[in-house]
């Protein structure tokens, strides 16, 4: 298997791993980490596949998209962390209350 496909598959793996962790874990910090891992997976797919076909200069468009994506990810993470602290302050736990019991 060529290197671009190898990394693209790793990206898919990260996406699925993060998705699974996002559902399974209760702690909000862990959910935020999971979202970030998922995002890294998507970025990896985006850039790795641009390398298909060898040593020619790589396609800069996905590179620019990923830089945009990284900034979006850090913005979302900052808001999520701030919200998590407020949830902890309001409920005493950094986890979402079980909806079925509400």
């Amino acid at each position: 298997m060529s290197v671009p496909f190898l990394y693209a598959l790793v990206g898919i793996g990260l996406f699925c791993l993060g998705f699974y962790a996002l559902i399974v874990h209760n702690h909000l910090l862990r959910k935020i980490l999971a979202i970030n891992v998922m995002g890294s997976g998507v970025f990896l797919v985006l850039v790795a596949l641009a390398r298909r076909g060898g040593e020619t200069p790589p396609d800069p468009v996905p590179h620019a998209m990923v830089i945009t994506g990284i900034v979006v990810a850090v913005s979302a993470t900052a808001l999520a962390l701030g919200l998590m602290l407020k949830v902890k302050a309001a409920t005493g736990r950094a986890a979402l209350p079980d909806q079925s019991r509400d």
Binding site: I35, V45, L46, L49, T68, A80, A90, T91, Q99
Partner: protein, 486 residues
């Protein structure tokens, strides 16, 4: 005069004006209310200008930076974009008017920048013709909506906002993975170019699955609606109105565009699945709404149900495209007006009695007649009774279902209508009587009542304007069906 008006790039004004207004509100904290209301009143004028421009010159395209797709980003406006932009501008104005009375100084300084940026993000989303650019606007909409939900704090609002944030980020990432695969499959992210290039392949199927799942989650279609009721019910009233009326329509719009441009030729079976989920949403959402004991939760579940109607159009469009898509356009627009009015009225009720328990509403009809009237008029449109925009939409949808012998969907619409009558009257019937627990009423500013009334009346009036409405929506033939009904 005419040349000056036609030379103004109204579409760009719709994007740049609210963004600049939001930033001005952030810096000049002392003048937020006036800056905010001014911006929100200029946006409908710009939307009107764009409509005028479209009707004279046809579909609008703008190559940002002068590059043109696929290298650059293209903006694009047709009748469908105009429908969403007009909806945003109109609801946005009503909500802004309301918000000038609702938020006190500290919260006002936080509300206006976020809200104007959300307004600009929604306009940018409805004008974008580029899938990656749509991802960025989608994140703008999502983050500002979450921040607005948490604005006033409180346990329910904070946990609701957190759940909402995680759901919306997950949806965006699924969508983005779809964009990545499309780019590597077809070498562009421009929607118009993709619609020429896409052919059935494993990539398209995976993209259809990823993007549909992500956008359905963000639209809160049954069964992925879990995040909507807590967020929409616990947000401040003007924010709830924006979330239910506009924000869920943003992801709905992207899904619709993708369907019309790319996916409808690939698969008809998926339309059946969308219809099934829509039917589930109508029945389940309405039943849940009927069970609620608080006004805002009831209205939030009603949104879950009304989103379902929008998806009923997909299976019906394969046989009777013009009728089904006309119905959907009507439902999108009138639901936005009616639901915003309902949430604003619910906010008034809450402020008036300092609670929103349905059973304890105390002689509201006599003491807050405008608000009760707004709720009732909005209810008429939500139930789909004539004359109203909601009636036109549901009547057209029913016609499409009857003509194609889809008795199952006819039954769903009939039941959904009955349940809607049930939940609207559950609130209304309690507004006449004296509550067991009486309370001291808290005064509600007149403009908050008039804002709700304005939107509710518009939801009724739009029912009388069928032919100009559909002529505008049909501009540029966004649905590929020729003339829209009638």
């Amino acid at each position: 005069m005419q040349t000056v008006l036609s030379e103004i790039p109204w579409a760009l004004v719709l994007i740049l004006l609210p963004l600049a207004g939001g930033i001005a509100c952030f810096v000049l904290t002392a003048a937020v209310r006036w800056l905010g209301l001014l911006t929100a009143s200029l946006v409908p004028i710009a939307a009107g200008g764009l409509g005028w421009q479209l009707s004279r010159e046809g579909v609008y395209r703008h190559a940002v930076g002068g590059w043109g797709a696929p290298l650059g980003i293209d903006l694009h406006a047709d009748g469908l974009s105009l429908l969403m932009l007009a909806m945003t501008a109109f609801v946005g104005f009503g909500v802004s008017l309301y918000a000038t009375g609702y938020f006190k100084s500290a919260h006002a300084a936080r509300f206006w920048p976020l809200w104007l940026l959300l307004l600009g993000a929604l306009n940018a989303l409805f004008l974008s013709g580029d899938l990656f650019n749509l991802y960025v606007t989608l994140e703008l909409v999502g983050l500002s909506a979450v921040a607005l939900t948490a604005l006033q704090g409180g346990r329910d609002a904070l946990t609701g906002a957190m759940r909402y944030l995680l759901a919306t980020l997950l949806g965006s990432l699924a969508y983005l993975l779809g964009v990545a695969l499309l780019y590597h499959g077809y070498g562009t992210v421009d929607l118009a170019l993709l619609s020429e290039r896409v052919a059935p392949s494993p990539v398209v199927w995976a993209v259809l699955g990823l993007m549909s799942a992500g956008l359905i989650l963000k639209t809160a279609l049954f069964p992925l609606y879990f995040w909507l009721p807590p967020a929409h019910a616990s947000a401040p009233a003007p924010v709830s109105a924006v979330l239910s009326a506009l924000v869920v329509k943003a992801s709905f719009y992207i899904l619709l565009r993708l369907w019309l441009e790319i996916f409808s030729d690939i698969s008809v079976d998926v339309a059946g699945l969308f219809g099934l989920l829509g039917a589930g949403a109508v029945l389940w959402g309405s039943l849940q709404a009927l069970r609620q004991t608080r006004v805002k939760l009831l209205v939030a579940y009603s949104t879950v149900a009304q989103i379902g109607y929008l998806f009923l159009a997909y299976p019906l469009a394969s046989g009777m495209g013009a009728t089904a898509w006309s119905a959907m356009a009507y439902l999108v627009f009138s639901h936005a007006l009616a639901k915003a009015a309902m949430f604003l009225a619910a906010g008034n009720l809450r402020q008036f009695g300092d609670h929103d328990r349905i059973a304890d509403l105390d002689r509201v009809v006599q003491r807050l007649p405008l608000t009760a009237g707004a709720f009732a008029l909005a209810g008429v449109s939500i139930m789909g009774l004539p004359p109203s925009g909601g009636f036109n939409g549901k009547w057209l949808l029913l016609q499409a279902a009857l003509a194609q012998g889809r008795w199952d969907l006819v039954g769903v619409m009939f039941l959904g209508g009955l349940l809607a009558v049930g939940y609207v009257f559950k609130v209304l019937s309690n507004t006449f009587t004296q509550a067991p627990v009486t309370h001291e009423p808290i005064s509600v500013p007149a403009r908050m009542q008039w804002a709700a009334m304005l939107l509710a009346t518009s939801a009724i009036l739009v029912g009388f304007l069928a032919s100009p409405f559909l002529a505008l929506v049909g501009m540029g033939d966004p649905f590929n069906v020729g003339e829209l009904w009638p």
